[in-house]
Symmetry: C2
Subunit: 393 residues, 2 copies
């Protein structure tokens, strides 16, 4: 049979362009391999390989290594190929990694999967297992994920946020409760979606009947920013790591614009019992103060590894003032489901312990989860799984 | 005034984690720089710098270089820093680039902006100018971009597509025309959105009154695939470059599932004059055959650098058989706006010239744009700008 002319031509065109653009000189060892990188071995150890014949040192770094181990030195096999295999099996999780070649961090040329955290990129890989089941895309009904722009009169700005509507929303007529899910410092409206796997977690928990169908609203918590990098009018300029106005009350005061837009635009349950707010790190700080200042709005609050203390110069701000009185009012009448989670190695652990002590003294009810780990996404994905199953029951 | 304790703590936590994860050894020259990379000089030449003290050769590659120039050799300044400045100003456009260090393609560690094309990543940069105005995010009303899953009975699969609804869609009650916009071989439902800048182009043209408000539907044209990499159940496995069933009639036959879902789910103008179909390369091939087989569906057809010829073993397929008769029927009754664009250096140029010759002989009306350039996104963004302004008038 005569071979396909058209596909051959298209492939040769595509290949010619790819080659001319990027692969001209890629004649190294690795293009014969079809294994994805890194290689997960049958015993669940993981092998990393980086080709750098001229380098003095090559290291691999990432959260699959313990703090003591990282970065790990790789060994030159003599042909310019540097190798490292973990000393023990790696537990099921989604991990980040990168290489350091002669003191410069570089990405893995053999792994196309990357995640942008603030202004840095990391490669990512997964060790599949029970822990990661809900992070995967399964053959279950999927919600819709939308990037929408809303007007914020308080900030005098059009701003972007990400909205998850559960499977069946478009076809149905019913009203849905809403979880407002906030990111940490330096993050943006894409964080929970990308590395947080929020859409996959909700799709899977809802399909299993473990979580109620809900809308999840992921706003941008940096009030000086319209949207994430490349999605805002700064174009291709790099963002600052520390953005202004993140913890001075501005975002908290403007939050009503978001709730108002969501209630106007979606079929929502427009009452306290139909709204939850949760966030990680700075987003936990935002959730704490937004829910305390607007206690009529939220029936559930989730603080994931939250920042707690207010900066000195903002202490007189309306939002942060008299927090003890605000908590009292919040807890006295229809106390919300109040959920706190933190890792046992989190640098913010003591601050959260102080908050819990205050709550304990006042006999404010809350649910507490202390997990293994530090100030990392591994914890936050678990907290979202736990918290979302308690909502809107 | 006492400095902010909380932000200081959060920053130190964040910095500690970033450092431990990725930046430990980054003590090179470049971390003092705040310039984004590459550096666009005042005379619009562009300077690239890559730090690789042990390398024998470092090259920079990308579509900002002419085919003769690429890849360009960089010069070692003696301190391990390799430099290259373009010999002439670079014209306003969005470009891709990467480095080649001792025969291995690597990304720029100083540029967080990347684009995934099939299974390869490229850095991207922009030279701002009149040409790129509509690719930027401006302070205009923005449409909503949604990733939605639809059921395809023909393919017996739930599949993902991207849908742009123009600003005002959520608030209004009116019906909107729909442009179905298809990607090329190896691409997926994210291609037009990411590097194609389709949402920005439509936002800006609609805001300027140059294009009618329309819904743009960007399906996945690989019928063996539910969704783009990382968005499908293959998880973190690398995709094949050549996916099966892309040009054997399967996608064309299943296309009615997409139209049917869109007409059921959105407020659409449900008639021929309210539908257009266009695509690049393989997506041009799909547009050609879908519109010829279902002439009652589409009032406008756009072929952007289209593949034209059918593979030998598929020639008897229902979809590809008797194309001359189908064109005759398509062109005789309410002939659609038929638009063809191709670059003067495109390897598919001759195939498109043959198609035009056929159309000319039959006196089928069509609009033709021959642009500078090859089989590249630079052309396809321009074609989308041109074509979308002619629709639904």
């Amino acid at each position: 049979m005569k071979r396909c002319d058209c596909i051959r031509k298209l492939l040769s065109v595509a290949a010619a362009i790819l080659i001319s653009l990027s692969m001209t000189a890629q004649k190294g060892w690795y293009r014969d391999k079809t294994d994805p990188m890194p290689v997960v071995n049958p015993d669940k150890t993981v092998t990393f390989r980086y080709y750098a014949p001229g380098a003095d040192t090559v290291q691999v770094n990432g959260d699959f290594l313990s703090e003591k181990e990282r970065p790990a030195l790789m060994k030159n096999n003599g042909n310019g190929l540097w190798e490292f295999t973990t000393s023990a099996p790696v537990q099921p999780e989604i991990y980040t990694y990168s290489y350091i070649v002669d003191n410069q961090k570089v990405l893995d040329p053999l792994n196309m999967f990357v995640w942008r955290n603030i202004s840095d990129l990391y490669n990512i890989f997964i060790i599949p297992g029970e822990r990661t089941e809900n992070y995967q895309i399964k053959d279950v009904p999927h919600g819709t994920v939308s990037a929408v722009w809303y007007n914020s009169p308080s900030l005098q700005m059009n701003r972007r946020m990400v909205v998850y509507t559960p499977a069946g929303y478009e076809k149905g007529r019913g009203k849905y409760p809403v979880l407002y899910l906030l990111h940490g410092m330096g993050g943006d409206e894409t964080a929970w979606l990308d590395f947080g796997r929020a859409a996959q977690i909700l799709d899977n928990l809802i399909a299993q009947g473990k979580a109620e169908p809900m809308i999840v609203v992921m706003p941008n918590g940096n009030p000086s920013q319209e949207a994430a990098p490349l999605e805002n009018s700064n174009g291709y300029n790099l963002p600052l790591f520390y953005l202004p106005k993140t913890m001075d009350g501005t975002f908290e005061e403007s939050f009503k614009d978001i709730v108002s837009y969501v209630d106007r635009t979606y079929r929502t349950v427009r009452k306290k019992s139909g709204r939850a707010i949760a966030g990680l790190s700075m987003g936990g700080f935002h959730s704490l103060y937004i829910s305390a200042n607007y206690p009529e709005l939220f029936g559930a609050v989730g603080l994931f590894s939250p920042a707690v203390s207010v900066q000195e110069e903002s202490k007189d701000n309306n939002i942060y003032r008299d927090i003890d009185l605000k908590w009292k009012a919040q807890m006295e009448k229809n106390p919300p489901l109040y959920w706190i989670g933190i890792g046992n190695e989190d640098p913010l652990y003591q601050d959260v312990a102080s908050l819990r002590k205050k709550f304990d003294l006042c006999k404010y009810p809350y649910t507490y989860l202390e997990s293994e780990g530090s100030h990392v996404w591994t914890c936050w994905r678990i907290y979202l799984e736990e918290f979302s199953q308690l909502l809107f029951k």
